[in-house]
Symmetry: C2
Subunit: 77 residues, 2 copies
């Protein structure tokens, strides 16, 4: 099965949502990416359709924006 990707940027809203998602899902099926640090993956996140973080991209390509930590503009700085 293809993995989901959880994108975040280290903010408190992001960390809280990450803990919830990893508790609720099989954590082995989720890749966690901090685009505040792994900045070369920002373009990938934008191409996936992210408008804000935290967000989960499902294996079928849907984007679930979860709560609201920061906009992609904020992340790009």
């Amino acid at each position: 099965m293809s993995k989901s990707v959880f994108y975040h940027a280290g903010c408190s809203v992001c960390v809280s949502a990450e803990q919830d998602i990893l508790n609720l899902m099989d954590s082995s099926t989720v890749e966690v990416v901090n685009i505040g640090e792994d900045r070369n993956r920002i373009a990938e996140a934008e191409n996936a359709g992210l408008k804000s973080v935290p967000a989960l991209v499902t294996p079928n390509g849907n984007v679930l924006h979860i709560n609201y930590g920061a906009s992609m503009a904020d992340v790009k700085g």
Copy 2:
């Protein structure tokens, strides 16, 4: 294990998110509530902290607002 509760109101954003959540999680651990129809559960949803639907309330009481379908004011009409 206590269940999560997925609140929605039948909107297209809600239905899409519901399908994703039920695919990603063990669906036996999620109760799905349509507060557009089960209007006597709107107060419960508000007490849980919902600001909009769709949203997932985790077993530990955290609220994950997922994308944005409608505000609680819209649901209450």
